[in-house]
Amino acid sequence: MKLVGRLKAVWAYRGFIVGMVARDFRGRYLGSILGAAWAVLNPVAQIVIYTLIFSQVMRARLPNMQDTLAYGLYLCAGALTWNYFVEVLLRSQTVFLEQANMLKKAKFPRVTLPTYVFLSATLNFAIVWGLFLLFLLGSGRWPGRALVALLPLLLIQQTLAIGLGLALGVVNVFFRDVAQAVGIGLQFWFWLTPIVYPLSVVPETLRKLMAWNPLYALVVSYQGIVVEHRWPIWSDLWLMCALTLVVAVVSGRVFRHLAPAMVDEL
């Protein structure tokens, strides 16, 4: 079966993939004095802005919540996971163009490229999320066992991100319009998902429509876990799961069909 073959190829090239991830990580801080410290400083700044600045300085509050930090946590729960989603999607969309030189000159399994992008983004997310968890622990807001629910949620989210990124990435080689359109599309998607604003500011009728956004239930689940220490309502996630499944199948077919011709267009 094709999928097994792909997985085997990824395993055989694990050295290359790990090398690329390391290169990616080091490359970002190359030539700087602080080096990898920036990998921590950046997310710290992000968390500080979302939590302290928004809640303490701008006094943004979540309705019905006494906790002054609640809005900051709400923002982090949605935005940090959204960033992870977008990073994988955007980078796997351009990775074939970025590595055109390699694709044209060497024979290696193409699927290793999105794989390394995924791992690289996951490393970044692990750092930022790890710091966020430390912050939760330090501020006495540890969500407890509900945190376990994050794993399946992130798994679904990233499967969707890779699926979309892979298909769009391959098509983008033929039509560079795709990357532009996706950039615009993501902006709409971001604002149509309750990441920055609390759900309560949305009128009831509109909220019903918004529920058709597959990411809606997912983001609400994250926020529930982090802010209210509440387990997700799994049945709400059916739309997200269905979309992920469809995207995964379509994307696999697009990749199989178009990937061989890709190198002729690079």
């Binding site: 290359f16 030539g31 590595q99 390699m102 060497a106 024979k107 061989p260």
Partner: protein
């Protein structure tokens, strides 16, 4: 067996679209609409190479050489037919592929090695070897952007050839870098040849093909038009270059002792007769080193030709050009010649050549080279032998005049100079 290459009825077409959205139209129609033109870069290519064979791939620009290499290395897929390459393949398609300018030579070598399918441990084990071969010293820890082109090329070659591949594909890369390194590369490739690596070598340099290859393939317009000994295929290739300029007939004719030769041209002037004579004017095929020989050519014109040029070329056993000149440079022939006119030309040449077999090629064309108007180019029309003469023994392709002065230095006997001279 590892190292075997089997190519069968291989074809590669690229789709050409007049407009970008035409492709989208095809996709949306489920490929029911056809809005593209197929451009066949390769078609009907069939050949096989047993493990350990070295083959030169030659052809004009756009003949399909690069496409064939890309298919054999597996970076692109054939449209029809199959290409099987057994065993581990290393390709030097364009050196320095995937080098990241901001990373050190060692880090880049590591990734490049992994890209070839080697494990981290294997690359690490080979690293001292790689560094030694690349000869870039301390620079191995510096970012690649600080490298000279030569250094980057050396490193890339060292990585690509660190572990002996079953199949090595080389694309015109040995010309990069200095002469010393070029020789080192050729030595390494020779070593691989002896160890049984199959080598496919693309080059515009006939000498390199002749030195490295047992066989040559000539591609033209996406087709494989010649497959044989490098010498003969290269002669045909030369004919092909001339063909671009004029309408030509190319024919390979049998001459003395079963040797085949290539003859091509537009035949507005035709070489009717060629003879090689000794100093006494008698036909000869063997000369002592330093003898005078005379090439006598009789040319007959079939249409009006202004100021023809007649040229001679002597090649050695493996086909290297040893000496060639023509009347344009020596003593231009003036005037116009019409159909039926004849011209006899004598080239007197002192054969200061090394001992061994040589061939003679004669051509009639216009201007300074046969690329202008090639009337008749007759490859290797006569073979001849150079035998030792009265000169002091020497080695090599030419017998250069030599003088030796020995001046002993000392307190006794004063100063005396002895001079000896060879021919």
């Amino acid at each position: 067996m590892n190292g075997d290459i089997l190519v069968s009825n291989l074809g590669k077409s690229y789709r050409r679209y007049a407009r970008r959205w035409h492709r989208l139209g095809e996709w949306l129609s489920g490929e029911r609409l056809v809005w593209h033109e197929d451009f066949w870069a390769l078609r009907g290519i069939t050949f096989s190479m047993p493990a350990g064979e070295s083959v030169g791939l030659i052809g004009l620009n756009g003949a399909g050489k690069s496409t064939l290499l890309k298919i054999l290395t597996g970076t692109t897929q054939p449209t029809e037919g199959t290409a099987q390459v057994e065993g581990r393949t290393a390709a030097l398609l364009e050196l320095g592929m995937g080098f990241h300018p901001d990373f050190s030579g060692r880090q880049n070598a590591l990734v490049a090695g992994q890209l070839m399918g080697l494990s981290v441990g294997e690359v690490a084990a080979l690293m001292p070897e790689i560094e030694a071969f690349a000869e870039i010293g301390e620079y191995i820890t510096q970012p690649v952007r600080t490298y000279s082109t030569g250094m980057a090329v050396r490193l890339a070659f060292a990585v690509a050839t660190a572990a002996r591949p079953d199949v090595l594909i080389v694309d015109e890369t040995l010309s990069v870098g200095d002469v010393y390194f070029g020789h080192k590369c050729i030595r390494r490739i020779n070593g691989f040849q002896q160890a049984g690596t199959t080598i496919l070598f693309v080059s515009h340099d006939p000498l390199a093909v002749k030195t490295l290859c047992d066989r040559a393939l000539l591609l033209d317009g996406g087709r494989l038009i010649r497959d044989g000994l490098p010498d003969r295929v290269l002669d045909y290739y030369n004919a092909l270059i001339a063909k671009r300029e004029a309408h030509h007939q190319i024919l390979q004719v049998e001459v003395e002792r079963g040797r085949t030769t290539t003859r091509h041209g537009s035949f507005e002037a035709r070489i009717e007769e060629i003879d090689l004579q000794d100093g006494a004017g008698k036909s000869a095929r063997a000369f002592a080193v330093g003898d005078w020989g005379r090439v006598r050519a009789r040319v007959r014109f079939t249409s009006a030709v202004v100021a023809p040029t007649i040229g001679v070329l002597i090649r050695d056993r493996v086909g290297n050009d040893v000496f060639g000149t023509n009347s344009f440079h020596v003593a231009p022939i003036e005037g116009t010649y019409g159909p039926g006119d004849e011209l006899t030309v004598d080239f007197d040449v002192q054969l200061n050549l090394g001992v061994g077999p040589y061939t003679l090629t004669v051509a009639v064309h216009s201007e300074a080279t046969h690329l202008a108007n090639n009337y008749d180019w007759w490859d290797k029309v006569i073979g001849f032998e150079i035998v030792p003469g009265p000169e002091p023994p020497f080695i090599g392709l030419t017998c250069l005049p030599v003088q030796l002065h020995v001046a002993p230095r000392g307190t006794t006997g004063g100063r005396s100079t002895r001079t000896a001279s060879g021919r």
